[in-house]
Amino acid sequence: MSVREYTCVVCPNGCPLRVDVEERDGCPVVVSVLGNVCKRGEKWARQEVENPLRTIASSVPVAGGDFPMASVRTNRPIPLVKIRAVMDEIRDIRLSAPVNTGDVILHNPAGTDTDVIATRTVRAARAG
């Protein structure tokens, strides 16, 4: 059994948490959580230990636009362990203008339950 320390990020209180963690079948499982002022903290700690979720952001080149890159992000958190696989898919993408904020660039990348969406609008550059 091991002890992990986290600062809870659910609210500005930032409770310092002590989490007892056991390995079962190679996966970490929370045994107990101490230090949280509310139940949301305990729930967060469990998620963070057993299946940490993250959002990621990156940038994709846009051809023929009034801006060279469109920033993108996942619109739902994905498992931490899937970040590399999702980044690999994002790295292959090249876009052409126009791109609008909210456009779905990748649907369910690496089998995750998220979309990668554009977060910048890039209009087609005027010719000449």
Binding site: S59, V60, P61, R91, R94, S96
Partner: protein, 505 residues
């Protein structure tokens, strides 16, 4: 006159301020002049790393070469700066006696200066000192009105560009590796250079070789079979202060020198562009290119700054740099030997300059005259009638021009309306002119020394991405080829996403 293949009449080794001054001086005549510089631009050595002071000439022994070329160079500077379009500020200097022991020193300096022909020297009392610089303390001071400040790197570049405009060949990124002396009288030297960019070798054949290689002048001597000299590098560190303090100093203020000190001491020097620099320190080091700044010296400079400028804040120290003096004496001996400016009898046609430290900047045009006379003993020099001494440049940055002049210039050329370097208000046109410089120098520091970009309080944080965009999108440079100052200092590793073309969505 252009160099014919690799044949030239005069080959100048070293593109510092002295080498470039020689190139410009010789370009007045019907003679083929070539200059080789191992860095990727002129002036990257000591010439760009100093206080920028034009010394009056009272610090040097009467009859010495230093005294002669400094006083002559100082006298030439107004015309030279006017012709080349450079700022010069004759702000004068106070050399201050802090205690009684300094008084005989001041008297000696006055006598020395008078004997050297320094104009206007006067020992003045504290009330007169206060009029020249409020708040300055001391028993008395030697006032030298002919002391001045210039931009040392701007001068070096302007000399080289004017030499090139008048037909001299300037080759950057060429390091001399071998010199073969003429086999018989009347024959040429063969000088081998290696290119910094691709390692290619070239051979220059020259009737006369001028060694103005500064910190490497002893190495060039040895290539020519001359073993009389050894250079001892002595580093001086500096801080650059924010322009906020512009106006704190109306004149140069130095303490009376102590005997055998390797330099003139740490002082505050205003620059022609409105900064103040603190320094230099003096430390003998091993490496001729070790321009590092050290914690101890930096702390000493900061303390000096706070002592002399009580309103100084930490955020006012915006940058450090260091320059290295080419001293001819080791640390145990100290002091300063006279300049070596000689036409070697044992190696006819080899004009040798060794140990040109301070006042080398001031002396450069006068040293060029001396070298010209030495060259003339080997090659007849006939004046060209189409020599143009003027660069046609304005000494002022665009931001220093009056608003109505600027407005008219922007109307004609919108690139003057687009500000790229926010801190110094440098326009896109000035950046473009720097990129397209006539010497073909291709480093970021080359842009910095010509256009002043990245020299402000944010040190390039704002303008570097913008300059990068201009170089890549308008000049087609590949990011992995952007260099800071040498082939070993690339700025970037390439693109994050390489071009693949098309829509893969």
């Amino acid at each position: 006159m252009p160099v014919n293949d690799t044949y030239t009449d005069v080959l100048i080794i070293g593109g510092g301020v002295v080498g470039c001054a020689i190139a410009r001086e010789l370009s007045r005549y019907r003679v083929r002049v070539a200059l080789v510089e191992k860095e990727l631009d002129v002036g990257f050595g000591t010439s760009s790393r100093n206080s920028g002071v034009m010394h009056a000439g009272f610090n040097y022994k009467p009859g010495s070469l230093r005294a002669k070329v400094d006083v002559r160079g100082n006298a030439l500077m107004d015309d030279l700066c006017r012709d080349l379009g450079l700022k010069i500020k004759r702000i004068g200097k106070l050399t201050v006696a802090l205690d009684e022991a300094d008084v005989p020193t001041l008297n000696r300096l006055k006598e020395q200066g008078d004997a050297n022909g320094v104009p206007g020297l006067e020992i003045i009392p504290p009330q007169t000192m206060q009029k020249l610089q409020k708040g300055v303390e001391g028993l008395m001071a030697l006032h030298s009105p002919s002391s001045a400040i210039i931009s040392p790197y701007a001068l070096t570049i302007a000399l080289a560009e004017n030499a090139a405009a008048n037909g001299a060949t300037i080759r950057l990124g060429r390091e001399v590796t071998e010199i073969r002396r003429p086999a018989a009288p009347g024959e040429s030297f063969e000088v081998t250079t290696v290119s910094a960019e691709d390692g290619r070798k070239e051979t220059f054949r020259a009737k006369v070789v001028v060694n103005s290689a500064g910190l490497f002048s002893d190495a060039v001597c040895r290539m020519a079979g001359i073993t009389d000299y050894r250079i001892y590098p002595c580093r001086g560190e500096y801080y650059v202060l924010d322009k906020r303090l512009d106006g704190s100093l109306s004149t140069l203020v130095y303490q009376a020198p102590k005997p055998n000190a390797p330099g003139l001491g740490i002082h505050l020097t205003p620059t022609v562009d409105g900064n103040i620099i603190i320094g230099p320190s003096a430390e003998y080091i091993d490496g001729r290119e070790d321009h590092a700044c050290t914690a101890d010296v930096m702390a000493a400079l900061r303390k000096e700054g706070h002592d002399l400028l009580p309103s100084l804040r930490m955020s006012d120290f915006i940058r450090n740099f260091a320059g290295i003096r080419a001293k001819q004496t080791p640390p145990e001996v100290g002091g300063n030997l006279d300049f070596v400016i000689e036409d070697r009898k044992d190696v006819p046609g080899f004009v040798n300059l060794v140990g040109i430290e301070s006042p080398g900047l001031t002396s450069a045009p006068a040293i060029a005259e001396m070298v010209r006379d030495m060259v003339a003993a080997h090659i007849p020099l006939a004046e060209r009638d189409d020599f143009n001494p003027r660069s046609g440049r304005s000494p002022f940055f665009f931001s220093e021009l009056p608003p109505d002049v600027r407005a008219d210039m922007i109307a004609e050329n919108p690139n003057y309306g687009e500000i790229i370097c926010r801190c110094e208000q440098i326009t896109k046109q000035e950046i473009i002119d720097a990129i397209k410089n006539p010497l073909g120098a291709k480093t970021l520091i080359s842009i910095k020394y010509r256009a002043r970009a990245t020299m402000g309080r944010c040190q390039g944080g704002f303008c570097l991405p913008r300059i990068t965009r201009i170089l890549r999108d308008e000049f087609g440079w590949k990011p992995e080829n952007f260099l800071l100052r040498s082939v070993r200092s690339p700025l970037y590793a390439g693109h994050v996403r390489e071009d693949k073309g098309g829509d893969v969505r």
